[in-house]
Symmetry: C2
Subunit: 315 residues, 2 copies
């Protein structure tokens, strides 16, 4: 919302887009809707009107808000992607574009939602789900005739920071604490440390870019718990680095993917990915290796991904 407000004039003049916020919903706030528009300044100050009486599900809320676009940013359910899948489905069925930062709908329902998109003439966009809004999905939508045969990359910040910390002499626990202080790791960091975050991103990329039907349990996954600080420092002394590396490759019937610690030479571009930075390298029919690196994304980079999708949906 802060970006929408800040770029209001450019959105209007450059892209012909005028907007108002007609609904807000969260577990805490419940379903708030006003099709006349809510005051963005009040919302940004955390001042919310009361939830509308009688609204108790996403469809009623979207109808009351007369939504043209839904920004979906609920938290990931790694079992089945709900309730985000239902949120997106509802938006598309009710004639709204659906934009999400939640990987669940992409991992668990990409085909079904793409079908809905084709039927309803609305857009389902999700650039913020992988690499904080760096234009991965957008790039491939504009690369006609390109077939992605595989990819590899570094997608998880917490494990990056922990491994770098151990190289510098910290213990695993000290490194994790530092990642938490940096605001990169959650209080319960096991989702990152055990490779689930990276795994879910691999599934999202594989399902969209290689037409796979990959679910998280089908990825050969190994986190970084087994890597000792001693092993990390020994590797570093020998000119190598441990990284949590993701790999996927198109197979006969199904994509094959791995997420696991790998020992990389310093000359591997993946070895240079630090902190919140990330990298993905695609093998395609026309480009043997086409890589995108996102260095030090800022606080607003993920939000930018949602904003860019908003403009794309309305273009």
């Amino acid at each position: 919302l802060r970006l929408l407000v800040r770029h209001q004039a450019e959105l209007r003049t450059r892209h012909g887009i005028a907007w108002r916020v007609t609904g807000v919903a969260s577990r805490r706030l419940d379903w708030i809707a006003n099709s006349q528009g809510l005051d963005p300044a009040e919302l940004l100050r955390g001042e919310f009107p009361r939830p509308a009486a009688g609204l108790n599900d996403v469809r009623a809320w979207l109808r009351a808000a007369r939504a043209d676009v839904l920004f979906e940013a609920s938290s990931l359910n790694i079992e089945n992607g709900q309730p985000a899948v239902e949120h997106i489905r509802a938006a598309l069925e009710l004639g709204a574009h659906a934009i999400t930062a939640n990987k669940g709908p992409v991992v668990f329902a990409y085909r079904e939602l793409s079908q809905l998109v084709a039927e309803r003439g609305r857009r389902f966009l999700f650039e913020s789900t992988v690499m904080d809004g760096a234009p991965i999905f957008a790039m491939f939508r504009d690369l006609p005739l390109v077939e992605v045969n595989g990819f590899h990359g570094i997608f998880n910040s917490t494990t990056n920071v922990i491994l770098s910390g151990m190289e510098q002499g910290l213990s695993f626990e000290q490194s994790l604490e530092r990642a938490q202080q940096m605001g990169i790791a959650e209080t319960d960091a096991s989702y990152d440390i055990d490779g689930w975050d990276a795994t879910v991103k691999v599934c999202a990329l594989a399902n969209v870019l290689m037409g796979a039907k990959l679910l998280p349990p089908q990825v050969a996954r190994e986190g970084i718990r087994s890597i000792t600080a001693a092993a990390v420092r020994e590797a570093r002394a020998a000119g190598q680095r441990y990284k949590l590396v993701c790999r996927a490759r198109r197979g006969e019937n199904q994509a094959h993917a791995t997420v696991r610690p790998e020992l990389l030479p310093l000359t591997d571009p993946m070895a240079q990915v630090e902190g919140a930075s990330s990298l993905v390298c695609f093998e395609t029919n026309f480009f043997p290796g086409l890589a995108i690196t996102e260095h030090n994304p800022g606080l607003e980079t993920t939000a930018y991904g949602l904003l860019a999708d908003f403009v794309r949906a309305l273009a």
Copy 2:
């Protein structure tokens, strides 16, 4: 043409595009046109019909061919971009989309041609001019509200190969010979060695992505002739590499750009760019560093850039 033929069915079914070749022109072949269509198989075998009588300029040729799209691939004129600028101008004025692999029109006439594009409702696309068809320009067209403040990168293969060869113990001349044997360097490689090729690419990127009006003589340019094999090997032994690095930055009134050998630590992603690979990293308002690396582009990668622009123009 080979790619157009190979992907004929997909172009039709996926993109709704049918095509025929109605003209071919080169210094050697002169102006060949047949609005009924030329036989692609014959053209690919090098069998060309006689040039059409009475055709003696690009406009007459485009009219005789009834061109909807022009692929412009004449060689670069580093003084003023001609005759390619006139080829593109003619195409746009006669109602054809113009697609080029020639940096001249982008460097010398981007603003003027963009104005024509706006007036005539045709497209002027040039993805193959920088990094062999990797989607640089396409990516930024689809990054709304992004402002490029600067960029840096490695754009020239010949200097890459020469510097790597000297690291491995070859002399400058031996390295150059190897680059020529690899088909990377021209017989007269001074255009590469003295930094002109990289300079022209910097101007193309700056003019399109930062709205600059940068001409090659305005770039602070230094080639690699002054770098001795001894200096290269000494640097390598100390964990550093010489690379011909390009940098550009938005200025008050004009962009500032440099092309010169720089000593990079091995941990710099630019230090890992070898052979025909290339890298560009953009500093933007929303992405502190967004980099594209193209590893080992194949023979068809530049041609793919033209093909992709063809689909984009007709989409």
